[in-house]
Subunit: 433 residues, 2 copies
Amino acid sequence: MTTDHEHITVYKGNIVDSPSMEELRTLENGYLVVNGDRVIGTYATLPEEYKGCAITDYGHRIILPGFVDLHFHAPQFANRGLGLDKELLPWLEEYTFPEESKFKDLSYAKEIYPQVVHALWKNGTTRSVIFGSVHKESTEFLLDLFIDAGLGAFVGKVNMDRNCPEFIVEDSDQSLSETLEIIEKYADQSDLVRPILTPRFVPVCSTPLMEKLGAFARDHSVFVQSHISENQGEVDWVKELHPDSLDYASIYHDYGLFGHQPTIMAHCVFNTEKEIELMAKSGVYAAHCPHANYNLASGIMPVRNFLNKGVSVGLGTDVGAGHQVSIPKVMTAAVQASKIKWLESGKTLDPLKLSEVFYMGTKGGGRFFGKVGSFEADYAFDALVVDDRELGTLNLTLKERLERYLYIGDDRHIEKRYVAGKEVPEPKKLPDL
Amino acid sequence: MTTDHEHITVYKGNIVDSPSMEELRTLENGYLVVNGDRVIGTYATLPEEYKGCAITDYGHRIILPGFVDLHFHAPQFANRGLGLDKELLPWLEEYTFPEESKFKDLSYAKEIYPQVVHALWKNGTTRSVIFGSVHKESTEFLLDLFIDAGLGAFVGKVNMDRNCPEFIVEDSDQSLSETLEIIEKYADQSDLVRPILTPRFVPVCSTPLMEKLGAFARDHSVFVQSHISENQGEVDWVKELHPDSLDYASIYHDYGLFGHQPTIMAHCVFNTEKEIELMAKSGVYAAHCPHANYNLASGIMPVRNFLNKGVSVGLGTDVGAGHQVSIPKVMTAAVQASKIKWLESGKTLDPLKLSEVFYMGTKGGGRFFGKVGSFEADYAFDALVVDDRELGTLNLTLKERLERYLYIGDDRHIEKRYVAGKEVPEPKKLPDL
């Protein structure tokens, strides 16, 4: 192995990751060797060749991969924990669209978006996939903020040109041209932060708009995110709007927005077996957002069914329909929801294990970013250093310490955050009011 | 009104409480007048007669009633957030009973129980109803700790004399005699802290034991707590053990343990209509523990059905089956669970509103303690002072501020805790390990 020892750092501590859904690896008092932005490997004993390298000793602390959030609406941040008394469609109309429309003014984005980036940092979310609003300037400001912070993100300007209030609906041509401008401007600005195509969901996107966005995705190799089958009312509406289409998924598919480029679909509560198979075949990721699905009374995604059929599933906070920015809180909610689904399914869909949701919230979502989310060789060194002593860890195994931290820990227990080999300092947050 | 002005304190701030399930009262920049341990009233303008009294001005902060937790297992504290991969009966056998058996040694109680009392204090739980273990000495230590801390509590030595492992099963006579000793010793020691009869649940209590505990309850006017219909396996087991009984509730009822004295039954996931009617008629409280019911894959209590039939419902964290000590986290989980139940019931059981669960976690459970849980005249002044500025409260109404604090706030936002008129200082917690 030829490595430039100047760029090598060795981290010592209690190392946890999950290279696969089935495997939770734990290594007590182990060594994690990093070359620049990439992991070389994890070792119980430090190999001879690295003995001259700088060692950062994190002692009793846990070193785990940074959390990955596959679904987050930045312009809904100021609404989190409010107005959760409605289902999806009236909730969008009455609370969400009015709030998002404020981002027409860059000055409002300058007030809110630094708080978003700070909250992600604070909660250990090192990579996230973000919906912006329809507004180009504010969305560009958000891209800039992520670049400055050193956190990984895909950020999308939302497209929506029909069936929404006048104060927020877009002109189709302008929606397309502004999207293209952002894509071109940010295509090569950062290894960590990239634009993503973001047609909001079928009901608010005209077919010509979807068709042209599909062509953009193909021509510019841009990734795609959207929503699918979150709420029964939405599913019924899509059927009304597209009576001749086979199903919800096939509408996206027909316009080149369903896995032709790497694609995330959020929610997936009501997909048919055929749609799930299409997702698996097309490599479309599902973003499971249990808190949001509870809060908007949507239902529970049958995650086990998606896993059984080979769909890649990651986790999403879905702020603001989800109230908490924390991915560990989504992991534990996902386990809880799966237990109810297990009962509902007559005990046919096995509950999710904590190790499985830990995978989903690290490598499972991380794969959307490339080699991200575990400490295997050649993976980006995205990591959190957690001091869990306050949680009472005497006599616990490392696996139990992880479990307890995920269930009852919070941002106070995270001491350090690394993205692609670099420690990420606290980003600027606006002064408290 | 004759009041001794020396004992009057006026608190100024943004006051919230719910005198009934239907009413969330908010009073911005109002005055809360307290005489000793009791509330005199809340006022938009300070009445003339109190103008000479000392005013504690909490400015922009929210003043709300302290939280009430109707169901908490103190000796499971060290297990919270661990071993949540089983249903109730194997979970008791494999994780819970072994942990509880450690409280045979008072020294273990001295390690863990101060952390319990500290955690309740930290999370703003000013009154709680607590299961101890079967051990007299440790349970008395816990009663003493609550008395020293100045927090309100009912604390019960558990009774269980059949169907549990040898290392924890009790001799029936000793179970009874030790219970009686505790009752006599603590009957008049404190206005805030009292013993409570705690037959664990039917499957582990012999009929002679239940019969004699029922007689204790009657003879000594002691309150009662137990579990009912948490998990399908448990319900089936009870039917096997008592094939001639009408139902689970009637077993307790037959032995004088079902509302003959004020009684709490935790969980109530699978009760029949007849049982629910008996609860309503007998004034038995239901402790709703949604986190625990998720974690042990029990199901969701149809709370709306209980409310419709007139049962008093409060909230419980049910630590350690519930992982979080926080009642606001139970409130939001209760709203979420009720939305899934709404879907499951074909939209017949309306979701709980936040104002309803706020009532349950304050006055709804507080009623078990007497006049506790709101700021009406003659109620105990149990209160929290919350500084929510960090949560972004500009332009929010007081109701929205409460909503947001309950959804996304935590112990960091609680600045002061009062119980029965006195500020409660931070209790001693063992040094971190």
